[in-house]
Subunit: 275 residues, 2 copies
DNA sequence: TAGTGGTCTAGACCACCGT
DNA sequence: CGGTGGTCTAGACCACTAA
């Protein structure tokens, strides 16, 4: 691209050069990244589909391939997009096995035969190394309690969906989930549809409701099992449970799920890596 | 660099081109990265010091600046090195505030005034938002129990150091740590030296023993407080505690610490982000 | 064989830092 | 001001994939 057009675009995009204490200009590749991000968010390219080639994007935005490349690099680093040499760059989807268990941090304790206590499940293995089956206990619509509304950035009293489900790992009751979703985005979600669905919940959200979870923040606590939860999880009342409170979000940090998972950690643990 | 010298270096580095089913050649920038890694590991450049400039490294290794850049990019992404525009690239150190609390995931519950339940402590804040004080209960040398030896990749019975300490958050007993270290790397570590040290433990390990923690894997469980720990933490026996079992490592994934932290999560939680 | 992403180069210029 | 990292370009070539 030539000097003139570059300056022109920059002037178009920015809001202030010397005007005020406004934000300084973002590098070109970040501007491109934002444009691509908008394409993802708007559904111009859907999960599983390929986005245009780097060369095509470079031509479209009138920048060099290297600049497009750096923009895509960041999207790939954020797991929003997956590069495949020789094939193209694809919008990430919960369909893919690698991404499948990205949000599931629960692992069985004895992972690998005589392996060290902290060996990852298996080299390069993404799966949890266990068979997880889900049983929906309840699914109903109600008005958001205040803390749920706050977490989902809704007004108190707005419609939400509450799902309660029991996860069994290798046949043993292990996680009791209480999932809150904004009613507006999940119209038509019901216990029947949940029962009919076989596969990861986030894949259902993606394909059936067009809501793609791309990240989450979690808060973990140890709590004592109350009567009801103890019964459901088949543990003694007062047993220690690992409470995982998760708020997950789509594009633009927009929260779309509040989940409280009560986990029995007798034979399982929550796995995390610090770098 | 010219074709001839590039081919030459590649032939030197690799082990097999068409010979056997050996590993395929790594890209140049990865080879450079490994060379830099060796420099870090060997202590050629020490924590806090600057490594040579990109231009100098490019000349030394006879590659382009862009290739060196990509190598350093990966080291920076792994937090092994910190780039500072206009100044240089520095070996990461636990001295820096940003890195200071990288391994501390415990946060006070009510973070920010009326903020949403899941707002990070503060925008860009690395600190824990609380005053943490440490009290060493015990520090002694003994022979490694088998599971400790396994976690630290030692032979059973080798010398290890056991540290027990109590962390108080804003004056309240909150975490009871049991820390196991390989004796060979931590000669001369004693309760007195620990008491005399003020600052993060990992900084002490780095400056006093030349052991730099660069990463860790953690396993979390909810457990019931036994008699002793309940007393130390001033909670009721049987109270749920968050057990954080951490194995941290230095360069080359070499484990150098096994830590079990028993956390009271009445007013605190373990924070995590999933991307 | 054509098209895609992946690597590598060389050089220009910018933004920032310390002196 | 000189030196550092940061951005951007243009073009060559490689590695992989699919038709």
């Amino acid at each position: 691209m030539n000097e003139a057009s570059r300056s022109a675009r920059r002037d178009d995009d920015g809001t202030a050069s010397g005007a005020g204490a406004g934000p300084t200009f973002a590098p070109l590749y970040r501007q491109i990244r934002e444009l691509l991000l908008r394409g993802l968010q708007s559904g111009e390219w859907k999960p599983g589909e390929a986005i245009p080639s780097e060369i095509e994007l470079a031509a479209r935005y009138r920048v060099s391939q290297g600049t497009v490349r750096k923009a895509i690099d960041e999207l790939a680093a954020a797991n929003l997009v997956v590069r495949r040499q020789g094939r193209g760059t694809f919008v990430a989807s919960h369909r893919e096995v690698r991404t499948q268990f990205r949000f599931l941090r629960l692992r069985p304790d004895d992972t690998g035969a005589g392996a060290g206590a902290h060996a990852p499940t298996r080299a390069g293995e993404a799966g949890p190394g266990m068979v997880m089956t889900s049983r929906v206990l309840e699914c109903r619509r109600l008005r958001a309690p205040s803390e749920v509304a706050r977490a989902l950035a809704l007004r108190a009293g707005e419609a939400v969906v509450l799902i309660r489900r029991l996860l069994e790992a290798d046949g043993e009751p292990t996680v009791l989930d209480e999932i809150w979703l904004p009613g507006s985005r999940f119209r038509g979600l019901s216990a029947e549809r949940l029962d009919a669905w076989h596969g990861p919940l986030y894949l259902m959200f993606e394909t059936e409701f067009g809501v793609r979870m791309i990240g989450a923040t979690e808060r973990l606590k140890a709590v004592a099992a109350d009567r009801g939860r103890a019964r459901t999880l088949q543990v003694a009342e007062g047993s220690p449970l690992l409470l995982v409170e998760r708020v997950s979000h789509t594009y633009g940090e927009q929260p779309v799920e509040l989940r409280r998972g009560y986990c029995v950690t007798q034979r399982h643990h929550y796995y995390n890596e610090l770098g």
